[in-house]
Symmetry: C2
Subunit: 157 residues, 2 copies
């Protein structure tokens, strides 16, 4: 903390670029997803995680961990999605405290309708703008940062 090493010009530029991209990309993807499919990004993430799962259902805590959400956030969000008929809650046979979220037929229809457009948007605004080398670099670098953050978290707590 003493004698801070500031960012040099390149680093500064990359950091700012990253944050700007983050914000703009997010806005645009959310905007298109809402316009074309009537879903928010969090909605879409919940639905697609569920859809990828063998049985279309997951323990609440399992889903929360995958999404890096707090249980509370997930619980609130699910009650809203439940009211819209996209998911249901079921009791968990194995653990009396537990709850399981399941995709409804309507929820499944919603993701399937949304997915092609959303993937296309991700391509259009990000993936197709990058060279293969850049994709590889992004892949490597993001995973390294993620590993660093999760290892550190694990070892410190």
């Amino acid at each position: 903390m003493e004698r801070p090493r500031w960012l040099d010009e390149r680093e500064q530029s990359a950091w700012r670029g990253y944050r700007r991209m983050r914000r703009l990309l997010d806005l645009e993807l959310a905007r298109e997803l809402m316009r074309d499919a009537g879903l928010s990004e969090p909605d879409y993430d919940v639905l697609s995680d569920l859809a990828e799962t063998p049985d279309q259902r997951l323990r609440l805590s399992e889903l929360a961990d995958r999404m890096l959400w707090s249980r509370s956030r997930l619980s609130h969000h699910l009650t809203r999605m439940q009211q819209r008929g996209l998911v249901t809650r079921e009791e968990c046979a194995a653990d009396g405290r537990g709850a399981v979220v399941a995709l409804t037929a309507e929820g499944r229809r919603a993701v399937e309708a949304a997915a092609p457009g959303h993937v296309a948007a991700v391509r259009r605004h990000l993936i197709d703008l990058l060279t293969p080398d850049e994709i590889a670099a992004l892949d490597a670098l993001t995973h390294r940062v993620v590993d660093h953050l999760t290892d550190e978290g694990r070892s410190l707590r």
Copy 2:
């Protein structure tokens, strides 16, 4: 939209890595910033944008544009920051409707106290984990995506 081109494995992995990094990095940086300086990331962004400005003050709309925030969001956030004594609002001489946000002495002290630690965190969790080539790639790629999104926005509207 017809015949969607899904992401191949590499692309998928990069996209997931990006989103995971985004989330984890954000959480960690926000956590440290709050713990060490008592500021949220939005607070810090407002303060550091103001601090970089020659006169420590900016038109509200100018600041909103730089930050890619809605005016409404900025206005709400400023009233909260104003109550904490970090900024003040002034009338704008040039435009009777306008308002100018100015950093207070306390606001200046807050950013200056927060900056070294925050930069160090950005280094520790991101920049110092990347090779020079990766920094350059990140710089290039993020700016290309940003340009694409802003050009498109400009030409469509």
